[in-house]
Symmetry: C2
């Protein structure tokens, strides 16, 4: 590492903090940037520098947004009585890419995880309850992951909303499309059996 | 992609240009940077922005350097009569890491590749000949890759230096340490047989 000039050593040290990036890859990135056109490198530096100040959090659904209220929350063609609760903006982006959903979202920004000190107040559950309490929401789809934390969060939300006249649903779990049955784990198969439906 | 705010879409577009980085990984980097401490993100942006202006090319060996003459070329404890010719600064760093070399370097900044329009004038061969012509170099170790281009470049350098009273050597090729013979390709095995030595 100290066989490179200081500026490169520093850059490699910073790049290594990116998820999944080790010393070799960071070195490769640094060499690429050194050889890349100056304009491209400046553009990358600028877009990293301005990231935090330009990206806002939507005041309704807490997703990442260009403005105070996000595009989806301010779109009159979306069904505002249908709210899908997800863990992260990336989960929301994945559902949007599927094109299967026309309602709005609620980004919890985390999952309950007592071991990591994340309780109901650390994530946006109270805000979800407030949205329901306002009376315009007819259905909440809980689309958290099917991990232990995701299931616990789903249960907690269900209990928190019990006293409100709102339909609460959970995304289906089962065998993924294209999945070969023999490779699917037992818990998933059990769930898929339980949730079987008439064809 | 357009499910994210403009600033994130732009960052993902820039990050995708890094070698080996696709949309998913770029998205993961962007999400990481959004959640990372502001100080860390600014430091990364700054070290990318200042990279090109801070890194210089050594006027003797053409490696990456903090100053006009690099640390190795200005180190009196190195053997300046022994010059190792390599393709890139990364190759030089790899040799330095091995700790097996006490001479100086000559970074060719490329390999001959007529198909890509890279002839002897596009890489630093003339500068190598000039260093030898200056009379202080006793041995040139050609440490280019053992690829077609690396071998061609090695041959060209050998011919260019034929008329000078300098010893020209090529790094050994053979079975890599820890390599299992049955998995080694035939060309390497042939080379290893030809270059066998008494024990």
């Amino acid at each position: 590492m100290n066989h490179y000039p200081e500026a490169i050593v520093k850059l490699i040290r910073h790049l290594r903090k990116l998820p999944g990036i080790g010393e070799k890859t960071a070195e490769r990135f640094a060499m690429y940037l050194l050889a890349a056109p100056g304009q491209e490198v400046s553009a990358l530096a600028a877009s990293i520098a301005e990231l935090k100040e330009k990206v806002k959090i939507c005041n309704t659904c807490f997703c990442l947004s260009d403005s105070e209220t996000c595009r989806i929350c301010s779109d009159p063609s979306r069904n505002h009585s249908l709210v899908c609760a997800v863990e992260t903006p990336a989960d929301m982006a994945a559902i949007e890419k599927s094109g299967a959903y026309t309602g709005v979202y609620h980004v919890l920004q985390g999952l309950l995880s007592p071991m990591d000190g994340i309780g109901p107040d650390e994530i946006r559950i109270r805000e979800l309850v407030n949205r329901v309490a306002a009376g315009k929401v007819k259905e909440i789809i809980i689309a958290t992951s099917t991990s232990v934390e995701g299931e616990a969060t789903s249960d907690y939300i269900t209990r928190s909303l019990k006293s409100y006249p709102v339909k609460i649903t959970r995304i289906a779990s089962g065998v993924p499309m294209g999945g070969e049955l023999k490779y699917i784990d037992q818990v998933t198969l059990k769930k898929a059996m339980e949730a079987r439906r008439a064809v």
